[in-house]
Symmetry: C2
Subunit: 407 residues, 2 copies
């Protein structure tokens, strides 16, 4: 056997298996009630619309372009549709500001690649989206804790980054119904974050993967919209907005998008040209077709279903969780974040739960860049019906109660 570690780049040391992805395999075990995945419910996919979209592509003169190479920036009619949607969110953008990627995960990878030299610092919340940490890790950064609305000074961030051998390059956050916490950053804290970014001269990466999925409460403008309002033009902004069709239409086509000033988008387009040429032409055309023909109706449909499940999940937690357990009350998205008493460990609890309670969830520690958060866990309600939620949370609550008693 060759010793490949002699040949691999240093960055490969940080590539490790994802707990979440390993857990996805459990979804196939019929005896397990799973709150682990956080994937959309396939029963809600607009499959008839997609069927029609592909059929129309093959019956039109567009078929040759659908199967051919295409430009790295993405399919123009899809970018034009996005421009109209973004305008509704207070983001006036042009074609030079909108770029198609193969899912917003690819957007995060590209942004890590664009900004991070080894030892540079990325600011992320504790906890944050695990997939963002995995994407950024390839570029060997340090992490420091972002606390939207918190009082850390620019100087303290700068000093820590210098100690770690680099510069602060960006703040990454999911501002609406974040994965994993389900929480939303309020407007005041978004403005504070923009002020901090200004003082640090860094980019803000706004992960908007769940933004369309608000079930109640008042929408908060995207960070990019707030910055455009301050500066007068998207070309003057430092916020880069990453969106996705994975939660609204379907993830299997791998279509997401990045919105930002033209300087950054131009660099990202060059990067994509070198990295995979372009995202699937036919899938971009199919997404454009389905979005144009019924995006709002589809979003309304999934919001109705998920909000009901969110309600059931919050009721069940209220009913079955013992004293000492706390959880978030998300206004949208797919997740509730549970904090256990300090004496409990989410990973150990999962091992026991899979054996006895037969309930799956994601232990929270992996979402913390500093390895803290052992007493937390994430439950998703997106793929569970009311009965599963009632039964699963009941079993999980009983298990936690007995673990607390034993601790």
């Amino acid at each position: 056997m060759l010793n490949w570690d002699n040949i691999f780049a240093t960055r490969s040391l940080r590539m490790r298996a994802s707990e979440i992805r390993e857990l996805l395999k459990l979804l196939d075990r019929p005896d397990i009630i799973s709150f682990a995945g956080g994937i959309p419910d396939p029963a809600l996919f607009p499959d008839k619309d997609f069927k029609q979209a592909y059929a129309e592509i093959f019956d039109s003169t567009a078929v040759n372009s659908a199967l051919q190479y295409s430009v790295s920036e993405g399919y123009k009619p899809l970018r034009e549709w996005l421009i109209k949607e973004l305008a509704k969110l207070g983001i006036p953008a042009g074609l030079d500001n909108v770029f198609i990627v193969s899912g917003s995960q690819q957007g995060l990878d590209y942004l890590g690649k664009l900004f991070l030299s080894p030892k540079d610092t990325a600011l992320v919340t504790w906890p944050t989206y695990l997939g963002a940490l995995q994407a950024f890790n390839a570029y060997e950064p340090s992490y420091d804790q972002l606390t939207p609305g918190g009082n850390r000074t620019p100087e303290s961030y700068r000093a820590t980054a210098e100690q770690n051998g680099g510069k602060v390059k960006f703040a990454y956050l999911s501002a609406d119904f974040a994965n994993p916490t389900g929480e939303t950053v309020n407007r005041e804290d978004r403005e504070k974050l923009l002020a901090l970014a200004e003082e640090l001269d860094i980019a803000v990466i706004e992960d908007a993967a769940y933004q369309s999925l608000r079930y109640d409460g008042e929408p908060v403008p995207p960070i990019l919209a707030l910055e455009i309002a301050r500066k007068g033009s998207i070309e003057e902004t430092r916020t880069i907005y990453c969106g996705s069709f994975s939660k609204t239409l379907a993830p299997g086509l791998r279509v997401g998008f990045i919105v930002g000033n033209a300087q950054v988008i131009r660099k990202l387009v060059l990067m994509k040209q070198a990295a995979d040429l372009h995202s699937s032409t036919i899938n971009q055309m199919a997404i454009a077709h389905v979005a144009e023909h019924g995006f709002d109706a589809q979003v309304a449909k999934i919001k109705a279903a998920y909000s009901q499940r969110r309600n059931s999940m919050l009721s069940a937690l209220q009913k079955y969780m013992p004293a000492g357990v706390e959880w978030t009350k998300p206004e949208g998205g797919m997740f509730v974040w549970v904090t256990l008493p300090k004496s409990l460990d989410g990973a150990k609890l999962l091992a026991k739960s899979l054996e006895t309670a037969k309930v799956a969830f994601v232990p929270g520690q992996a979402f913390f860049a500093d390895g803290s958060g052992a007493n937390t866990l994430r439950v998703s309600f997106s793929c569970a019906n009311d009965e599963m939620i009632e039964e699963g949370i009941k079993r999980l609550g009983n298990l936690i109660a007995s673990e607390i008693a034993a601790a």
Copy 2:
């Protein structure tokens, strides 16, 4: 305007626009005869098979999986089909050895990411595939000249790499009908390359994008097949084989594959999980469907068409090129490589040609990692019919003759 150069990673300095991609835009100008692209002829796409493939997916119970997230290693039936095909090439492989990527360009990006730390050395031929240089550039390597069959000693490669501040990590080459030269590395030179790789303890990246497109002459076994024959098992090999469906079925779906020992494939799967989760599920299913139902017939069809065009191109070059111009005689692929007298410059010739002769091609210099090769150019015959080839090469030959006379 923000000064983004303060924030971008150092690697972004090497991200520049591709001449080839910019030139692709010329394909839309009806007055230009283009030999620039090197893309497959859309008239040869198996569009009816793809239409049926997507329709069957939507009419089957597989529709939910087709639209859903899937595993990073790729769609199992497609990997199983590939295993059968690889066996015919002398490559016995298992599921752990085959991994689906979003086009072989993504494979090159991932392999650069896996192996290259800044200042490491990649060995490439002069010239080599421009897209490989662009993919690798993101990881800030040095390049040294690979000459399959040449006599450079391992010591001299090692010494040069050390001078450049790193180690030699891999040799990259397209061994069959290479882009841009159309040339094929013979068996003896493949064996020599394996011996060199052994002595240097480096990987060999075999880009097999054009391998299926042989029009005449004897097939040469893939480098990976030769190495397996030496070592007895794919798990002992250092060759990593990158393949594509872009030239045989269609590029617009972005489906390619990497084949190699399980240690390397495992690392690449983790990398993909972090970079874009997985390649489009529905497209992998459609490719598997079309491959299973008629891969050989489709390859036979395109080989018949392209080999006729290759013949026309070689005849026209013979007929119209003035003395002092040389070109390759490819046994397959899409390209002929033309070497002009030293006094001519391919880029200047292109500017003049677009203006007067109205013929497009790709100047050769961009394919050279050392910036040499100004007197070379690449012509592709894949999208041109006999009349275009006759007329275009006639005009180009006349222009070159008058440039030689003027020099």
